[in-house]
C-alpha cells in the first residue's frame, strides 16, 4: 500500500460517507415540515376580466328603473354596491368609511342538486373605517354564499349575514359590526341618480361585452355612529357616495388595473374619474369620468378630457408601490387639483389586495382645500 493510494482511498471513502450523510439530510429535509404556502390573493383585474359564456353581457344602453335596479341582477358575473364617505365627529376628528358588497355570479351548470347550499352567487363584503387621528385603517372582510338567505340584494335591502343597508325614505340605513369596530349610519341622498357613460352604459374595452351598467348617487348626507376600538361610540356626520355597477367580462384585454377617483367638491360639484391602466402603465382610451353639477345635472368626460398624474408613491410592507398622491386636471371644468391621502396606509390586506382610502383635494395653484373624496387603486403588484 502506498501512501498516495491509501490517501486516495481515504478521500474516496470520506466522499462516499459524506454523500450518504448528504443523501440522508436531503431526504429528511424533504420530509420535515409541511408545505405552508400562504394562499395567493385574488386578482381583482382577472375577476373582472373574464366570465364564462353563460353569463349575460352588457352590450348597449338600456333604461334603468328604480327601485328595481337597486336589487341584484342575476345572470351577470359581477356586481357591487359601494358606499364611501368622509365623516367628522363633534371634535372635528376625521374618519373615512367604506362599505362594499360584491356579488360574484356562479355558472348555473355548477349548481348541484339535493343540497341546501346551492348558490347562484358568492358574496363578499368589505367594511373599512380610516381613523385618521390614530392612524388606524380598520378593515374586515366577510363572505357568504347566496343561499339560505345569508346574503343578497333586493330593492329594499342589501345584506351579508348581519351587515346590511336597508332602504329608508330618503336613502339607506347602513349597519355593520365587526369585532372591534362598527358603523350605524343614516345615508340620505341629496342628489339624484347619475348615469355615467352612455346613460349608464359604461364601456371599458373594445369588445361588445367589455362594459358595465353603472349608476351612482354622488352625494349622500351621512349621520350616525361609529364604534371604534378602545373608545366610546362616536357620533359622526359627513358626506357619502354610492357607486353601483354590474356586468360580465367588463375589462378588455391588456388592462392591468385601474385608478378611480370620487371627489366631492366644496362648490357642490362631484367628480368621478377612472383611469384604466394598460399593461404598460398607460391610460386606456376607455378611461372615463363624470362631472355632476351642484344641481344634479351631469356630463360624461372622455379619456381626452382629463389627465391623472401620479405624484408620490407609498411602499407597503410587501414592497408594492401605490401611487397615493395625484395631480388631477380637467381643463373643461377648470379643475387642476392635487389629491392627497389622509393617511398612506389604507391598503386592504384580505382576499383582494387593493388600496381604497379617504383623500383631500386641493387647488394646485393656490394650495387651498377644495374638497374630499375617495381613491381606489387596483392591480398594483
Amino acid at each position: 500500500m502506498t501512501g498516495t493510494a491509501g490517501g486516495r482511498a481515504l478521500k474516496r471513502d470520506l466522499a462516499v460517507t459524506g454523500l450518504v450523510l448528504l443523501a440522508c439530510v436531503l431526504w429528511l429535509a424533504g420530509r420535515i415540515g409541511r408545505d405552508d404556502a400562504a394562499p395567493a390573493a385574488l386578482d381583482s383585474t382577472a375577476l373582472l376580466g373574464t366570465a364564462p359564456e353563460s353569463f349575460r353581457r352588457v352590450t348597449g344602453p338600456e333604461p334603468l328603473s328604480f327601485p328595481r335596479d337597486h336589487a341584484a341582477h342575476p345572470g351577470f358575473r359581477s356586481e357591487w354596491w359601494y358606499f364611501t364617505g368622509n365623516l367628522f365627529d363633534a371634535q372635528g376628528r376625521r374618519y373615512g368609511l367604506q362599505f362594499t358588497l360584491f356579488r360574484f355570479g356562479l355558472p348555473e351548470d355548477a349548481l348541484p342538486e339535493g343540497t341546501d347550499f346551492s348558490a347562484d352567487a358568492a358574496w363578499m363584503a368589505h367594511l373599512a373605517v380610516t381613523d385618521v387621528e390614530t392612524g388606524r385603517f380598520l378593515h374586515r372582510e366577510r363572505f357568504a354564499r347566496g343561499a339560505l338567505d345569508l346574503a343578497g340584494a333586493t330593492e329594499q335591502r342589501w345584506w351579508l349575514r348581519d351587515w346590511s343597508a336597508r332602504r329608508t325614505g330618503g336613502g339607506w340605513r347602513l349597519a355593520a359590526e365587526a369585532d372591534t369596530f362598527g358603523v350605524d349610519l343614516d345615508l340620505r341622498a341629496v342628489k339624484p341618480v347619475v348615469l355615467p357613460g352612455e346613460r349608464g352604459y359604461s364601456r371599458k374595452g373594445p369588445e361588445p361585452g367589455n362594459a358595465s351598467r353603472y349608476y351612482q348617487i354622488p352625494r349622500l348626507e351621512a349621520s350616525g355612529r361609529l364604534r371604534l376600538p378602545g373608545r366610546e361610540t362616536v357620533e359622526v356626520s359627513g358626506l357619502a357616495w354610492l357607486d353601483r355597477e354590474w356586468g360580465s367580462s367588463q375589462l378588455g384585454p391588456g388592462i392591468a388595473g385601474w385608478d378611480w377617483f370620487a371627489l366631492q367638491l366644496d362648490d357642490g360639484r362631484d367628480l368621478m374619474l377612472y383611469r384604466l391602466r394598460t399593461d404598460d402603465g398607460e391610460a386606456s382610451r376607455f378611461s372615463s369620468g363624470t362631472l355632476t353639477e351642484a344641481d344634479g345635472s351631469f356630463r360624461t368626460l372622455g379619456a381626452q378630457s382629463f389627465s391623472l398624474t401620479p405624484m408620490r408613491r407609498w411602499t407597503d410592507g410587501l414592497g408594492v408601490e401605490w401611487p397615493v398622491e395625484w395631480r388631477v386636471r380637467v381643463p373643461e371644468a377648470g379643475l387642476d387639483l392635487k389629491v392627497r391621502p389622509v393617511m398612506d396606509d389604507q391598503r386592504w390586506d384580505a382576499s383582494v389586495i387593493y388600496w381604497e382610502g379617504a383623500v383631500d383635494a386641493e387647488d394646485t395653484e393656490s394650495g387651498r382645500a377644495v374638497g374630499r373624496g375617495y381613491l381606489e387603486l387596483s392591480g398594483y403588484r
Binding site: G6, D13, L21, R31, L47, D109, T115, L148
Partner: protein
Amino acid sequence: MLTRFVHAFARRQPAQFLLAVAGIAAGIAVVTGVALLRGALLDSLDDAATELAGTDALIVRAERGPLPVPRYAELARMPGAPDWVPVIREAVRADGVRLEAVGIDAFSAARRFGVDPAAPSPAGRSGAPAAGTVARTDRATLDLLGLRPGDRLTLDHEAGPVEVVVQPLDGAGPGLDRRLVLDIADAQAAFGRRGTVDELLAPASARRWILEHLPEDLAWRTADERRESARQLTSGMRANLAAMSLLALATGLFVVYSVLNFLAVQRRPLFATLRGLGLTPRRLAGLLLVESLVLGLVGSAIGVVLGTALADLLLALIADPVNEIYGQLPLARSDPSAGLVLGIVGAGLVAAMLVAVPIVREALDVPPGRMAHERRPPPLARRVVPAASALVAAGAAWVALDARLVAGLGGLFLVLAGLLLVVPALGFGALRIAAAGLGRSLPGHALTLLGAGRHRLAPGLAALTLALALSIGMGAMILGFRTAVDDWVAKLLRADLYVSATTGSLDAERVERLSRLEGVAAVSTVRDLSARDGTRVTAYRLPEAAWGGFQWIAGDPESVREAFLSGRAIAVSEPFARRRGLSVGDELSVPLPLGERKMRVAGVFRDYSTDRGFIAVDASLLGRARGPVGSVGLYLADDASRERVISRLAEAGDGRLDWITPEDIRSQSLAVFDRTFRISWAMAVLVACIALVALVSALLAHGLERAREYATLRALGLTPRRLGALVVVQTLGLACAALALAVPLAIFVHYALTLVIQPRAFGWSLPATLPPAAPFLWVAPSALALAALAGLAPAWRVARRRPAEALRGAS
C-alpha cells in the same frame, strides 16, 4: 496519520464497520419510528377544526344528532354572530383506506387554502364545471393514496360510491391528513345529507358571543378540548408504543456494544503496535471515540431515515384500528420535525460514545508492544446478584405502590433489567452443565470453548433472551386477550339476529313492528346517549334471555338484575368503574335526557368494547324521552327458522334495515382485534431481528478472540468443515440457553402485561389464565433456525482462516 490507520483497517474489515453502522441504524430506526408514530397518533387527532377555522377554533354541535340547516341559517343571521363554518363529516373509504370526507362552506370564516372564492365552487369545481365534484386534500394524503392532482377517485360511502376529482389543498397542515375537503353543497348532494350539518366551527374570537348568545340546546367546546379527549383516548396505546421503542433501543445498544467491542478485539495488535510506537493513551482514546462518533453519526442519520419510513409502514398497520376503535384519523404520513430529528441523532451520538467508554478502557489496558491481553472475566454471578435483586425489588415496589400506567411500565422495566443481569450467569452455567453432559464430543468441546468467552458473549446472550422473552410474552398476552374477547363476545350476544337502520336509527313504531314479526319471541333494544362531558350512557331494554350476556365482575347477578330492571340502580362497565374509581354501592350522577340523576352502582360488568367505559341503564329510566334506538336484538321462538325470519325482515324492511348474525359480529370483532394488535407483532419481530444482529456480532467477536484455540484445533487435524460446525453448534447452544431462560421470563412478561399493564392502560382486566402455548411453539423453532443461519457467518470466517496465520497472529 491515525485516521489513515483506522481507515486502512476499515477497508480491510468493511463488514464490521457496516455491521456497527447497521446496529446503530437499527436501534435509532425503531426509536425514531415509534416516536413519529406517537406523534402521528397525536398530531392529527381531530385537528381538522383548527385547520379549517384557525387556532383555538370553537365547535358547536347539537346535543344529539346533526343540526338542521334552518337552525344553522338562523344562527348565521343573528346579530353579531360569527361567520360559522358549517361542516358535514362522512366516513368514506378509498382503495381500502379509511378517510373522512369533510364538507365545508368556504364562504364563511373558513381558512382559505388558496382557493378562489369567485371560482364557480369554492372547494369544488375550479372553473371547469364538467370536471365533476372536486375533493381537495393535502399532498401527504395524495401521496398516501398514490394520486396526482386531477386524478379521479371513487369513494365508498354507505349511501353508495361517490366519484370525485382530487386536487391539492395547498397550505394545509397535518390536521387535514386523511381528510377530503369538499364544498358543502357537493358533500350534501353526494352523501345524501340534505337538511342537516354535523357541526359549526367558529374562530376563537367568537368565544364571547357564544358564551352570551348560544342557545341552550347547543353544546360547544374548543378544538383543544376535543383534541385533549382524543389524546386521552389513545394514551394507553401510546404508552405501550413508547415502552416498546425503549426496549428496541436497549437491544440496539447491545448491538452497538457488541460490534464496537468486536472491532476493539480485532485491532488489539494494532493498538499494541501503536502504543509501542509512542502513541499516548490519550490519543488512542481520542481516536476510538472519534471513530465511534463517526459510526454513530452515519448510523443515526441512516437510522432516522429508516425510522421515518418505518413509521409510515407502522402507520399503515395502525390507521384502521385507530379509526375503528377511537373514531380518529391518524396522519397520512409521519411528520418528523427538525427538533425531533436533531434530538434523536444527538441521542444516537451520546449512546455511541457511552458504549465506547468501556471499550476504550479495555483498549488502554493493552500494554505497549504486547500483542494480546488476556483479561480475566470477572465472576459474573457474585457481582450482579445484589444489583439484580435491588432492581427487581425496586421495580416490584414501584408497581405495588403506584397505580398509574407509567409505574406499571417503569416497574416492569426495572424488574426485567434486574432479571437480565443474572441471565448471562445462568445461561453460561447451563451451557457448562450441557458441555459436561456432552463430554469430549465436538458439541461438548464447542460449548466448553464458549465458557471462556462469556465476557464477550454476555451482552448478546442477554439481548437475545430479552427479545425472545418479549416476543413470546407479548404473543401469549395477545392470544390470551384474544381468547378472552372471543369468549366475551360469544357470551354477550344472546339474540339470534341484530337489526339496525341502514341510516339513522329505529323509531318506536318500527321496533314494535319488528317485535310482532312472525317467529320473533322477544326483542332487546340498545340506545346510546352521549352527555355533554362525553360520558356514554347506554339504555337497554333486555328480555330474560339477554341477561346471561353480562359477566359480572362485581355485584351479585340476581340483585343487580332486580335493581337494574326496576330502574333503582345502574351498572357500569369495568373500564368506566376503574377510570372513575367506582365500586358497587357507590353513587353516581347519571346524565339522562330528563336531567342528571344520582343513582347507585349495582354491578360492574366485563366489557372490551370501549376503553372509555360506559354506564348501562334500563330503558325505562328514559321515560317518555325513550326515542329512537340504535339497534334491536331479535330472539326467535324455539321453532322459528332464522332464514325465514331474515326473508320476512327483507320484506318488511323495505331496504331500510340491516341485520347481522351474532356469528358475523363475532368474526368482525376478532378481525378488528387482530388489526389492532398487528403493530405489536411487528414490534416484536423488529426487536427479535435486532437481537439476532447482536448475537451474530458477539459471536464474530468471540470467534476472533478465540482464533488461537481454533487454529490449534485446526493444526490438530480438525477440518475447516468441522470447525465451521463447531461454531454453528456454539450459536445454537447460545440460542438454546437464551430460549431456556426466555421461557420463564416470557411467562413473567405475559402475566405482567395481562394483570398489570392492560388494566392500567385500558381499564379492563383479563382472566389470569395459563399462557397459551402457541407463541412458544412458533418462536422456539424460528429462533433456533435463525440462530443456526446466523452462525454461518462467523463459522465461515473462522473456518476460512489459515491456522498458521492465526497462530502467528496470536503468538
